[in-house]
């Protein structure tokens, strides 16, 4: 794995017995000795620590004013950036001229600048994209050194507030900076599991001590990529490059909730983002196809690329993510089907090893989310 990059906490993962696999150009722990199932269930019951330092972190510092930078960001995303209050974070989507998704991200208004977290596999693209479109209005400060840890689960607050009591007052999608014994930590109350929790950007000098302090608590277990994937799948959350990409629009992907009123037809700053014609049309008329939740009737998981059919044999689309949901106790999946077959309860078939098996369109999330609103 010589071409792969290593996480700042690589030695910690190896010491914990993490099984390291290549992912998005990094050696990442896919699981620890307790295994994917236990790690998943532990996160839902107590708290899990995830190392997501492979993700891209970048500060956009305005050259003149925040409002001007917000408007420039709005030219890249169908999202209300100007209306985001200081100390708050929001989900964003970079779109292209055809309305496809270039990446999804989190961005926070931190008063004097925006802080963005983007997907690992899209870092190089996104940084170039920002440079190309925002160089006139912002300095783009890529945070190559900082680690990113996530503490997720119902006891995440209990655990992290022992180290920084200030986090307990945060609400879902709040973003704050704390000066701690681990250095300055940048905390948001968010995550990728459907559980309450925090994402913590920390300088590598403090990351190891922070991770060790959390792992020393009986609530906290280290969690690998395997459980991260099953947790986000149960929560109905998209994985870039699988459930969303340049061939899917935000509306098709069921991400219309991320497009605030201000950017829709009749809104204060309607349109003016890449692919606006298609995206606004789909908001009005509905998309031709939609990402839907899928519940296979049997116990056989329907994994990514499983072909989907109507009961009369008409090909409909494919599964984009699927597997066994440890908290649901059954297989769960998501995929794209024409709007005609996207209603909850629609009976479809998925082809698993040459056999057409029944699967039903179902509501997402598959497992209730527990955000602290």
């Amino acid at each position: 794995m010589s071409d792969l990059l290593r996480l700042p906490l690589h030695e910690l993962h190896v010491g914990l017995g993490g099984k390291m696999v290549p992912f998005a150009g990094y050696e990442m722990p896919v699981q620890y000795p307790s295994g994917v199932m236990k790690e998943h269930l532990h996160t839902r019951a107590a708290a899990g620590l995830f190392d997501v330092s492979h993700m891209g972190q970048v500060i956009l510092r305005p050259k003149t004013d925040m409002a001007g930078l917000a408007l420039a960001l709005e030219r890249l995303m169908p999202v209300d950036v100007l209306g985001l209050a200081q100390g708050r974070q929001r989900y964003g989507i970079f779109t292209d001229d055809t309305g496809g998704i270039l990446d999804d991200l989190m961005f926070a208004n931190r008063g004097s600048h925006f802080f963005l977290v983007v997907n690992a596999a899209r870092k190089a693209h996104d940084f170039a994209h920002l440079e190309q479109h925002l160089a006139d209005v912002a300095t783009i400060e890529v945070q190559r050194e900082r680690a990113l840890l996530a503490v997720q689960g119902p006891l995440a607050e209990t655990a992290l507030s022992r180290l920084e009591p200030g986090v307990a007052a945060m609400k879902f999608m709040d973003s704050a900076i704390f000066l701690t014994e681990f250095g300055e930590i940048w905390v948001s109350r968010s995550g990728y599991t459907g559980e309450d929790g925090f994402e913590i950007s920390v300088h590598p000098g403090g990351a190891l001590e922070l991770a060790r302090a959390l792992l020393a608590m009986e609530e906290v277990l280290p969690i690998g990529l395997g459980a991260r994937d099953s947790l986000r799948l149960e929560a109905g959350l998209c994985l870039y490059g699988h459930d969303i990409d340049a061939t899917t629009s935000p509306v098709e992907a069921g991400l219309a909730w991320a497009i605030q009123k201000a950017r829709r037809a009749g809104g204060a700053r309607a349109g003016g983002f890449p692919g606006a014609a298609r995206i606004l049309r789909e908001l009005d008329d509905g998309p031709e196809r939609q990402r839907v939740g899928l519940r296979p009737a049997g116990r056989a998981p329907m994994r990514e690329d499983t072909a989907l059919f109507a009961t009369d044999g008409t090909p409909l689309g494919t599964v984009t993510s699927g597997g066994f949901g440890p908290s649901v106790g059954e297989p769960v999946a998501m995929g794209y089907v024409p709007a005609s077959h996207a209603a909850i309860g629609s009976a479809l078939e998925g082809e698993v090893r040459g056999k057409r098996l029944p699967v039903t369109v179902a509501a997402m999330p598959f497992y209730p989310t527990h955000y602290k609103r």
Binding site: V30, G35, P301, R303, P326, P331
Partner: protein, 119 residues
């Protein structure tokens, strides 16, 4: 007991060969969540895919180690796939194969040879 390169164990029971997967294989697979068993009373060729095991990570096949007739399958695995992780070398057998000549098992590894292979 004999072992295959595909990490299956083979145990002779009367004139039948009982087939399961090794502890090493079960650990590598991770938590098993689904087992698709073959139909009993079917003839299978050596090397043909007979069972599918799905773990939280991926799907893998179990191959018929030798030619024969499937005479019994372990229905417990359909209801409790996790048995594969709990007791891979015992309770979690997959199928029983009737073969013409048990001598075909001589070609497979014994325990020491298998241990050498997995290091």
């Amino acid at each position: 007991m004999k072992f295959t390169k595909e990490h299956e164990w083979l145990r002779v029971e009367g004139d039948l060969v009982v087939v399961g997967i090794t502890e090493h294989a079960a650990e590598a697979l991770g938590d098993v969540v689904f087992v698709e068993l073959p139909e009993p009373e079917t003839m299978v060729a050596a090397g043909s895919e007979v069972c599918v095991i799905e773990s939280v990570k991926a799907a893998s096949d179990i191959l018929a180690p030798v030619e024969g007739e499937i005479v019994a399958v372990n229905g417990k695995l359909s209801d409790n796939p996790g048995l594969v992780n709990e007791d891979p070398m015992g309770e979690a057998w997959f199928f029983k194969l009737k073969v013409d000549d048990l001598g075909v098992l001589d070609d497979f590894m014994d325990e020491d040879e298998y241990k050498d292979m997995i290091g």
